[in-house]
């Protein structure tokens, strides 16, 4: 979440004080992304330094100091809104790693590992859905943020479902045993080019870990 651009978006509506910006940021993001007060003032100082916002006067940024967006700030905001975030490289996903590792740990029930994660995700989804229960449709930002989280968690549950079906099928036709043997013989060997992305995923995760 770019706090810098969220601040510009709030200032695009008109001049605001520091304290007001923090309160409005939390209200707009459905209070899902709490914001440290120090973060607000540091961000405002940087916006001013970069010519994207200007303040009432000199001195430290504080609750009572007013800020307004500049023409350059408006251009930067428009550019940011239309620029897709970089999703090209796979994120570091601890859950994916755990399931992949479970395939190789002796005497591990992969289905039980998958189910433990599935249950946790569904429990989280139940909590998010409780927020929607009392929805009167008035807090659109909150509902969109809750939906985003529900769809994200749902996609992980779907991956677990697909993974479980794939593991079950592989176990039924013995493919998993063969794959395990090949991996143990030479984990880095490119004997099967279709597995290259998986090897890259492991390598990158090891580097990051």
């Amino acid at each position: 979440m770019s706090v810098r651009h969220a601040m510009l978006a709030l200032l695009s509506e008109g001049p605001k004080y520091g304290l007001q910006l923090r309160e409005e940021f939390e209200a707009r993001t459905g209070e899902i992304w709490p914001l440290n007060v120090g973060q607000v003032y540091t961000t405002l100082q940087r916006l001013e330094r970069d010519g994207l916002a200007e303040s009432d006067g000199s001195g430290e940024a504080g609750p009572q100091k007013g800020f307004r967006i500049t023409a350059e700030g408006e251009q930067e905001l428009a550019r940011w809104l239309r620029t897709p975030p970089d999703l090209s490289s796979p994120p570091r996903d601890e859950l994916v790693m755990k399931v992949l590792v479970a395939l190789h740990v002796p005497d591990t029930d992969v289905h039980a590992v998958i189910q433990a994660h599935r249950r946790y995700l569904v429990e989280l989804m139940q909590q998010w859905t409780r927020i929607k229960e009392d929805d009167t449709g008035s807090d659109l930002s909150m509902l969109l943020a809750v939906d985003a989280e529900l769809f994200r968690l749902d996609s992980v549950v779907r991956w677990l479902d697909a993974a479980e079906a794939r593991v079950k099928r592989a176990a039924a036709d013995g493919a998993m045993t063969r794959a395990d043997q090949a991996d143990r013989a030479d984990p880095a060997s490119p004997q099967n080019p279709t597995r290259a992305p998986l090897r890259r995923h492991w390598r990158e995760a090891r580097l990051r870990g």
């Binding site: 709490p34 249950r119 569904v122 989804m125 139940q126 909590q127 859905t129 229960e133 479902d161």
Partner: protein
Amino acid sequence: MSMLELREVSKSYGQGSAEVHALHEVSLTAGEGAMVAVMGPSGSGKSTLLTIAGTLEDPTSGEVLIAGQPVSSLSRNAKARLRRRVIGYVFQDFNLLPGLTAAENVSLPLELDGLSARKARVAGLRALDRLGLGERAGHYPDQLSGGERQRVAIARAMVGERRLLLADEPSGALDSVNAQAVMRLLHEACKDAGMTAVVVTHDAQLASWADRVVFLRDGRITDQTAPAPGPESLLTPER
């Protein structure tokens, strides 16, 4: 008292080498006002569980109790009466009768149970009103959207004194907005009207409307969610 209780229910089809075990000693309880979702992959036994809970099929072994009463102790007629008066069913494909209006579809079960046509109609209209379909009472199913048809089906499942709602993939034929709306209605039927609902779904977002989610795999309940803490835990600011 539990509205629905399954005690070590097993169900097998076929014999010998062709025998298929659809359910293995499944135990499940759902109290009054509770909404329970049953999740599992295709072929895990979800629909069989619902069919047996709804007394539409007998288990091979084990016992089903509805409102504390063992179903096996009931005569054929008493079982049919239970299905007409206590249990409401909601299916994926709505199962509305195309030649009847929304109001007639909803009041039909009451008329079949011996209620006068006038009283059945009043109860039917009330059920439709409760689901925001009062204006559509005179429409035929083919004049309604998918979401409206399913709401009519839910009204039919709730009409009269029914207390147990059994829904098999009730949102399966709907887009995500209408699917959420259907789950909200089922949730409200439990919280506001005190009904008990058991909803079969493979969709985690829909299941998350339930108080409890049980996971079925290869005919066995393998796991269930713990009672969820309130949503406040997700919104605690870090200051």
